[in-house]
């Protein structure tokens, strides 16, 4: 076991991936600039410009070329610096990458991994969004959003081995988070959720950065005798609710924490699944904690009210438990 940051774990995974000659990375400022978040720093020098392809600022092009290359047998990693920019590539992602396998009768597929980032920190309205639900909405895509360094590395391996297009969602505020990473080869499969913390009073269902905030909330509540169970979904599509449901059947209460807007967002689907499959076990209405539904303000005082905080998670848990 080594203690690594999320960034370091991803770097290891990317270096490993580059061992396959079919793999190349295409994205904006991944090479000469040195990578916006430092993940591919040093890669250009090590692998050269043929395989570390600094692309024009043309997101449709990045995804389009990666999709075509994947169809023809390459194993491209397309990096979209910020998920907000991926909107310019949605035609390619949705109309092509997600459709090609079934639309052409399953004769060929798109083994593509698109890395991208959620995140915010006074970046205002167009640079602080999450489109997790929009990706996860699309049949044909696989969508993962790991939370820990170990899962980042293990799930990236799974994504690279997968013959279907995988949207790999990272978080700009998570690159420095540290955690134990197993030595040697291991794969964390896509489509498997996991228990991040055991508890018996209430279940928090979440993923990505919100796992960490939920664990903090659980620590706070533990001092009041409230034992919070935290479920890390890890994959949004296919959505594995088995662990969350098992937990919910035990605790009968749930809070769903996602870092996106509430209406039609990921929490809407997760909550619905809990209600559908867990109805007979429900002891209180499920609460959701999400972004407040406004375009993200720049001003810090406002931004901090929009985003999910540990305090808001604690408050939601207490509300479900009918505690003051």
């Amino acid at each position: 076991m080594a203690i690594l940051t999320v960034r370091e774990a991803l770097q290891q995974a990317l270096h490993e991936a580059m061992q396959d000659e079919r793999v190349f990375i295409i994205g904006e400022d991944i090479g000469h600039y040195g990578s916006t978040y430092g993940v591919t720093a040093g890669f250009l020098e090590k692998y050269g410009p043929e395989r570390i392809r600094d692309a024009p600022i043309a997101e449709a092009g990045i995804l389009g070329l990666a999709t075509g290359a994947a169809m023809a047998g390459m194993r491209p990693i397309a990096e979209i610096m910020s998920v907000n920019f991926s909107l310019l590539a949605f035609d390619i992602i949705i109309n092509h990458a997600a459709k090609i396998y079934s639309m052409f009768g399953g004769k060929f597929s798109v083994p593509l991994v698109m890395r991208t980032t959620n995140g915010w920190t006074q970046l205002s309205a167009t640079h602080s969004q999450s489109f997790d639900a929009m990706f996860a909405y699309i049949p044909g895509l696989k969508v993962v959003a790991p939370a820990t360094p170990a899962d980042m590395k293990g799930m990236f391996r799974a994504a690279m081995a997968d013959p279907d297009p995988v949207i790999f969602i990272e978080h700009t505020l998570m690159y420095g988070i540290k955690g134990e990473v197993p030595d040697g080869d291991y794969v964390v499969p896509i489509g498997k959720s996991v228990l991040a913390r055991e508890g018996r009073h209430i279940t928090v269902v979440t993923y990505s950065r919100m796992v960490h905030l939920s664990l903090q909330a659980a620590d706070i509540l533990a001092q009041e005798g409230i034992e919070v169970e935290v479920v890390d979904l890890r994959t949004l599509r296919p959505l594995d609710m088995s662990v969350a449901l098992e937990s919910f059947k035990k605790t009968n209460r749930a809070v769903v924490v996602t870092e996106d807007w509430q209406s039609y967002g990921t929490s809407a689907e997760i909550t619905t699944r809990l209600y559908e499959a867990g109805f007979d076990y429900l002891d209180a209405p499920i609460q959701r904690v999400n972004f407040r539904e406004v375009p993200m303000p720049y001003a810090k005082n406002l931004e901090l009210q929009v985003v999910v905080t540990t305090e808001r998670i604690v408050a939601a848990i207490k509300k479900v438990l009918n505690r003051s």
């Binding site: 009041e224 005798g225 009968n252 109805f279 007979d280 076990y281 429900l282 002891d283 209180a284 009918n322 505690r323 003051s324």
Partner: protein, 423 residues
């Protein structure tokens, strides 16, 4: 081998909820024996089997719903006769316009809510809609054969939650102590409520709550009061009762009920029901009489009140009151009322306003007959008279003040001239 089906327990019943089974697979049952308790949207009631035999299969376990006519259980002995229809069905057919049963209005249940501690009457009323319980709580209660009505909810708005049922299963009448504050009682209660005990609602109380709240919220009530000189009626009653044994005697209330029946036959809109399509004029006059019992209130129905003789009304009222006191009223005794008489005279109440029993149009609140000085006719001479105040509560969607006034005046005329009712 015979089917036991969900019986139709009222004209508008389409399905029933199995609250609990009184028999289990393997039990021998005799025709007419109660086998299960079911809940309709009006009542919770025991249902009987129409076949004898050994129960071989229960198809609708407790907590599930079954459509009227749907097979809920089977008996295993071949050859047992199967009643083609539950007995209750023809009774309903006899009063095709029969309207809902359930107890009537009246503000005062003299006994405090603590009456909940009293044993449950054979016929209790409860409601699936008025009760707030979480799904897991419902499931646990069902699995343990607990009546949710007997459990105190500590969740938001009094919702029965998992821990409440868990406490009940553990035999602990009070909710599991919560580590933190969590005062379940409404914040509107004063601080002094800290020492209060909260008595769980009985099924009947829940039904009263639900039905009368519904009435109060949906039916615009208005009130018409009138004083009646009871002199002639008291005199008549004395004459009628003189030769009769006590259990045969006619009460003042019987005469008032009979007067209402006669008057209702002349005022179809007071004998009507407000329904979605309009105003339903009920062809039969069925006066319900409010009867206070230990666990609350029931309102059995005296069918065809207008065409019964005064003696017939009195005998029927006595029979029903006895059944009510013994907890033996059946659905057929509780359904089909078209008007209600509520009398608190025996408690010394002079006037009061009652809440209409839905889907009826009106209810008559009858106070105590009392001796008061009155002017004799148009003279200045003051004499003693026995005056009783009656107050009609009527549904303004169906009738108006003038009609209600004429109706009350007719009741007054009949009571003040009781011999006309003996014709």
């Amino acid at each position: 081998m015979a089917d036991i089906t969900m019986p139709k327990m009222g004209f508008d019943m389409t399905e029933g909820l199995i609250v609990r089974w009184l028999k289990k697979v393997g039990d021998h049952v005799n025709k007419g024996e109660a086998i299960a308790e079911i809940e309709t949207d009006k009542v919770t009631i025991e249902i009987e089997t129409f076949v004898s035999g050994t129960i071989s299969e229960i198809l609708s376990p407790a907590g599930t719903r079954a459509a009227v006519g749907g097979v809920i259980a089977r008996t295993g002995e071949a050859g047992a006769a199967v009643a083609s229809k539950p007995a209750a069905a023809p009774a309903v057919a006899a009063t095709p316009t029969a309207v809902a049963a359930t107890p009537a209005a009246v503000a005062a249940t003299p006994a405090p809510v603590a009456a909940a501690a009293a044993p449950r009457a054979a016929v209790t009323t409860t409601s699936s809609t008025g009760l707030k319980a979480s799904p897991i709580a419902k499931r646990m209660a069902s699995e343990h054969g607990l009546n949710l009505g007997d459990i105190q909810g500590t969740g938001p708005s009094g919702r029965i939650v998992r821990d409440d049922v868990a406490a009940a299963i553990a035999g602990n009448p009070t909710p599991v102590a919560r580590p933190a504050a969590a005062a379940p009682v409404s914040a509107a209660l004063p601080a002094a409520a800290a020492g209060a005990t909260v008595v769980p609602l009985t099924s009947m109380r829940r039904t009263i709550t639900r039905r009368l709240t519904q009435s109060w919220q949906s039916a615009p009530h208005f009130y018409v009061s009138m004083d009646i000189d009871m002199g002639a009626t008291l005199e008549l009653r004395k004459q009628i009762n003189a030769p009769l044994a006590k259990d045969q005697q006619v009460s003042i209330n019987d005469i008032i009920v009979k007067a209402c029946g006669v008057a209702l036959a002349q005022f179809p809109y007071l004998n009507a029901s407000y329904v979605e399509e309009g105003i339903q004029l009920n062809p039969n006059v069925n006066v319900s009489i409010a009867v206070a019992i230990d666990s609350g209130l029931v309102a059995p129905v005296i069918t065809n009140t207008d065409s019964r003789t005064l003696g017939g009304v009195a005998r029927e009222a006595k029979r029903l009151i006895a059944l009510a006191r013994d907890g033996k009223l059946g659905a057929e005794n509780l359904s089909g009322g078209t008007f209600t008489v509520s009398n608190l005279g025996m408690y010394g109440v002079t006037t009061f306003d009652a809440i209409i029993t839905p889907p009826q149009c009106a209810i008559l609140a009858v106070g105590a007959a009392r001796r008061v000085p009155v002017f004799k006719g148009d003279s200045n001479e003051v004499i003693a008279a026995n005056i009783c105040s009656i107050t009609l509560s009527a549904d303004h969607r169906i009738t108006d003040g003038a009609e209600a006034a004429r109706f009350v005046a007719e009741i007054k005329r009949l009571i003040e001239n009781p011999l006309t009712m003996l014709m």
